[in-house]
């Protein structure tokens, strides 16, 4: 549904997006991650035909953003960051106006608007002025606007920013529900938000695409994997027992208490010495409380990708 090839966008002397390529097939829900200022919004604005690209080709729903921007915009429901709306209109009136602007036929407008309000839970504020509703409702009115013409693609820029935890949970549940019918690109700088909702992430930093793949695959391949073992044995003895199993970053004692010791062994990607460790511990008849392969958290992975910024691009599409 969305094909981006070698997209670059330059503002004066700043290269905001640098040779980014990715493809999103129909029905997929993709998280678009990056720190503030990484180029997320710029990329999204090229997709929605608000900014023209400096170089590269972008096709959305089969239409080129330069040659047929109207077809592209028709295929996209867009929720911009900060959700700018007209404060002097009532919620329902605003959504009707947007439905008309987006070319929803007169006879269908009422039904489309009502369904969008229902789904986003704004029916109870439909008679209120847009400028008078709370932040959470405003965000949902913006989402209802994105949905109202029933576009195949939804592009949501920071849909959960500025919401309280309950509102965030509801927004995520709503996005999950929408994922059944729409192709969704959803940007955020909060990783937990994304991990709950999407299968695949794109990580962008300083205008470059740093990673693209399923969260589980990216984490499995990322550095920072550890084997953690807690057993009833002195720390140093445990390290000696497990000698040679660490394949990257060495081994260290993390805790010693009540006769139990905990150690962490750094592992290279794909290494999994759990069986070997278990065999050695059993041979010495050591009581074991924990033996686990721990993947880096998405947080750690993100810090690694964006701060070290030296990792080659991982598993592509």
């Amino acid at each position: 549904m969305i094909d981006v090839e070698h997209l670059s966008k330059r503002f004066g002397s700043t290269l905001a997006v640098d040779d980014v390529s990715f493809a999103i097939p129909r029905g997929e829900v993709v998280g678009f991650l990056g720190p503030n200022g990484a180029g997320k919004t710029t990329t999204i604005r090229v997709l929605t035909c608000y900014h023209p690209a400096t170089a590269g080709a972008v096709r959305v729903a089969g239409a080129d953003v330069v040659k047929d921007p109207i077809a592209v915009r028709r295929a996209i429901g867009y929720l911009p960051e900060n959700v700018p709306l007209y404060p002097d209109m009532r919620v329902e009136e605003y959504l009707r106006y947007r439905a008309e602007l987006k070319g929803v036929a007169r006879g269908l407008r009422r039904a489309f608007v009502h369904q969008a309000m229902e789904r986003c839970g704004v029916t109870e504020v439909r008679r209120k002025m847009v400028g008078h509703v709370s932040r959470g409702y405003r965000q949902r009115v913006g989402l209802a606007d994105a949905l109202v013409a029933r576009p195949p693609i939804l592009i949501l820029d920071e849909p959960t920013s500025g919401l309280d935890p309950n509102q965030r949970r509801r927004m995520k549940a709503l996005i999950k529900e929408l994922a059944r019918e729409h192709t969704i690109l959803f940007s955020s700088h909060i990783l937990a938000e994304v991990a709950d909702v999407v299968g695949r992430v794109l990580v962008i930093h300083q205008g470059k695409l740093r990673a693209d793949g399923k969260i589980a695959d990216l984490l499995a391949a990322a550095p920072g994997r550890e084997l953690r073992i807690t057993a009833r044995i002195a720390g140093q003895a445990l390290l000696e027992l497990l000698d040679g199993l660490s394949t990257q970053g060495g081994a260290r004692i993390t805790a010693e208490a009540d006769g139990f010791s905990s150690v962490a062994l750094g592992l290279a990607r794909d290494a999994d010495p759990r069986d070997e460790a278990w065999a050695r511990l059993r041979a010495r008849d050591v009581a074991v409380r924990e033996l686990a392969l721990v993947l880096p958290t998405l947080e750690q992975y993100f810090a690694h990708v964006t701060e070290l910024a030296a990792v080659p691009q991982e598993a592509g599409t």
Binding site: F11, G12, R45, T48, C49, Y50, H51, P52, I70, A71, R73, R74, I76, Y78, P80, N82, P84, L85, Y86, D88, M89, Y97, R98, E100, L101, K102, G103, D145
Partner: protein
């Protein structure tokens, strides 16, 4: 062009809902009330013929305000405010052409501007009915006068849309539009070529060239774009010159085209 119609309806509703329009109308008609009162006294005292009454009725200070201040104030927010609040992004990522948005917004400002003229004509019809003037009115110059006012208004509103599309500062947009209107109304008649020596002593080839340029190019062009003269010598006297009509319609179209281009250009930054 359904996008233009949708935009038109929303913008017109926004004008009708905002207090700004009503405040403007109140002040204008307060001023017009005093002006008309004075005009009626003069008419009663000295007697003015019917056609001159029509001209004088339309060409008051409140009409000049309606041309210089009102288009600037009506259009200052159309793009500047949307750009400042960010809603321009929502508007321009909807499946509508930039040109349709510009046309819709300008159309709404024009409709509201025309609405502001309506009470002046209701008032005239009332004079007619009660034979306040002791004579009947000639509607010819009044209607052509209105046509002239609306054509000039269309041009100045388009200029306001253009200045509003250049900035996100409403004050700057409105001041620029007022400057444009002021220059359009007064500039051409104020312009004087610098004096040059008539002949012989001191006259150089440059002076002669300048005099030729003034007589052959500058003066005719200024005469053609003299908005105040178009109104006073033509429209308000009941004469419609098709060249003038074309000038305003084409000028409005050109400014709206520039507005569209300016919206597109701002996206490149």
């Amino acid at each position: 062009m359904s996008g233009a119609w949708t935009t038109f309806k929303r913008e017109l509703a926004s004008y009708l809902r905002s207090p700004v329009g009503y405040v403007i109308a109140f002040l204008l008609y307060l001023l017009r009330g005093f002006e008309v009162d004075r005009l009626l006294r003069l008419t009663a005292a000295y007697g003015i013929d019917r056609e001159r009454f029509a001209t004088a009725y339309l060409m008051q200070n409140s009409s000049l305000m309606l041309l210089i201040l009102v288009p600037a104030v009506l259009t200052m927010r159309v793009f500047a405010e949307e750009r400042r609040s960010g809603s321009l992004e929502v508007l321009l990522t909807a499946p509508v052409r930039d040109g349709a948005v510009v046309l819709g917004k300008w159309g709404a400002s024009f409709a509201f501007f025309a609405l502001l003229w309506a009470p002046a004509f209701v008032l005239l019809a009332w004079f007619q009915d009660t034979s306040y003037l002791g004579t009947s009115l000639t509607w010819g110059p009044i209607l052509t006068g209105l046509l002239g006012m609306l054509l000039v208004g269309a041009l100045l509103l388009a200029a306001g849309c253009f200045t509003s599309s250049l900035t996100d500062n409403q004050l700057l947009a409105s001041l620029s539009a007022m400057l444009f209107a002021w220059v359009a109304l007064y500039g051409p008649s104020q312009f004087r070529a610098p004096p040059v020596a008539d002949d012989g002593v001191g006259a150089t080839g440059l002076d002669a060239a300048w005099r030729w340029l003034d007589a052959q190019v500058i003066r005719p062009v200024l005469d053609d774009v003299n908005v105040a003269d178009h109104l006073q010598s033509w429209f308000l006297r009941g004469i419609v010159n098709s060249a003038h009509v074309v000038f305003y319609v084409a000028g409005t179209a050109a400014l709206l085209f520039l507005t569209t281009r300016s919206l597109e250009a701002r996206r490149w930054r």
